[in-house]
Amino acid sequence: MLTATFEPVLTKTMQYPESHTLEVYRKHGGYEALAMALQKQPDEIIDMVKRSGLRGRGGAGFPTGTKWGFVPKSTDKPKYMCVNADESEPGAFKDRLICQKDPHQLLEGTLIGSYAIGANRAYIYIRGEFAHEARLLERAIEEARTAGFIGRNILGSSWSCEVTMYVGAGAYICGEETGLIESLEGKRGWPRLKPPFPAVVGLFGCPTVVNNVETLACVPHIVKLGWEWFSSIGPERNSGPKLYGLSGHVNRPGVFELPMGISLRELIDEHGGGVPGGRPVKGVIPGGASCPVLRGDEIDLPMDFDSLTRAGSLFGTGTPIVMDDTTCMVRAAWITARFFAHESCGQCTPCREGCGWMQRLLWKIETGEGEERDLDTLLSITDQIEGNTICALGDAAAWPTRGFAKKFREEFLQHITERRCPLGGGSLH
């Protein structure tokens, strides 16, 4: 099995008490990768990360080294590294674990990334609700500064870097990279039209890279253990260790570090201990709320970017939500649609109006007031939103609604013909 020889790295230090402190982090090899990185040229680091095959762990799966490579070399402008710790996708709770249990791992990855792109300043943008984690990160920054890992002439090199916390104030859209940048500038988190991409015109109009927490946490290990090690884990083009966050109807919910490409069924049955009471799996949202639902008979597939795209869904953040047979799929769709309606920033009409419309139609069907043509309208709205908005939130809202309506069409129709929720009193009520 894939997992037989796999040794966790991202969660390794977390097993020790006080794993969030510099002392414990250093005792287990912490900041050795930073010292190694500073012995190399920035381009060498970018090359290593490219070769490792690391793809962004925040949902989109874009190759990290390629993103870093887009930052212009010859520019007079300052460059910025922004850490996306705005973890708000329903189902995702893995970045929070890193911030809580191993903030120095994140800082070390952030520093190496900053060095690679030539940034002298990094911001950690964390969602406002994670006040505890923000305090832990603030403390970790102070510890790292005192030890000479942050500040001027880091480890005797000619490179200097500051790391500053930025605590958000409640808005899922700020996890979208240009929404995050707008928010960092002290504005509404309204995503920007692209191009230009942040790598060229980002924070304060300067070249900027925005990376997810888990993505950056992988970087010290790539530097230390080599890109060959990283790329040897998991399927081709989908390499590396992964933090899977498992929630919903499982006996052991939580974060599991396993190779990319592990079978979704194995994740649920073996690592998550199966469904309580041995009930059947009815549906799984494989990677966070924006990823189309899979039916219980579709979960024998590898958890990686390409496999889930081929299966008509998305890997997203790799954080499955498991639903057993007591769950009403119309209500699950409505809860998801309500989320996106609530979080739409309001800039683009298809998303602003479409998300609310989908939510209302789903509620109509769920409460027994729906007609068959509502189902057609629902699917038509998803087509109207998809591809017609500035950022991916529109798509992220359209895909799950379409997924639920197509994968569980019979159940939707049953609501309409019976004029009620056949599962009234189910797990979501």
Binding site: P90, V167, I285, E343, L428
Partner: protein
């Protein structure tokens, strides 16, 4: 009026962040911690310290859900209403709290003790159901714990 300490802290944020506007969200957090919520007067004070227009501040205050535009109780209870929590009893938890406190979503008890809000995903799905009281998380919450918690919070 903001306390002198809060004013001082907001002043000092100007040196932490690269532009006065980029210090706005951190400044609003300071102001809200000081005043409990962000009245128009408080918003104008923040605008004046940072040299921003009142409109620039208002735009931000009205966009982010954590910025309170009316007074809230001493204990702001926020319960997650999203999927993972709902699958494990989150809806029942919401009803239990609302019934016990007699509050609709967004309301505050007359004695100013509690404000109740149902909120979107709090990023703690593995320990569902989850609620927050002020800035503290309560995870794997049971109905019994909620009863006890509401008694304890004075």
């Amino acid at each position: 009026m903001l306390s002198p300490e809060a004013r001082q802290r907001i002043e000092s944020l100007k040196t932490v962040y690269e532009t006065n506007q980029s210090a706005l969200i951190p400044a609003l957090h300071v102001a809200q911690a000081d005043q409990g919520w962000l009245s128009e007067e408080t918003q104008r004070e923040v605008a004046s310290i940072l040299g921003l227009t009142a409109q620039a501040v208002r735009q931000v205050v009205t966009f982010y859900t954590m910025f309170q535009q009316k007074p809230v109780g001493r204990h702001l209870i926020q319960v997650c209403r999203n999927l993972s929590c709902s699958l494990l009893g989150g809806q029942k938890l919401q009803k239990q709290i609302q019934d016990k406190l007699g509050l609709e979503d967004g309301e505050t008890t007359q004695d100013g003790r509690f404000t109740y809000l149902s909120v979107e995903c709090l990023g703690s799905c593995g320990t569902a159901p989850v609620l927050m009281v002020n800035d503290r998380y309560y995870e794997n919450v049971t109905p019994q714990q909620v009863d006890r918690l509401l008694e304890e919070l004075k």
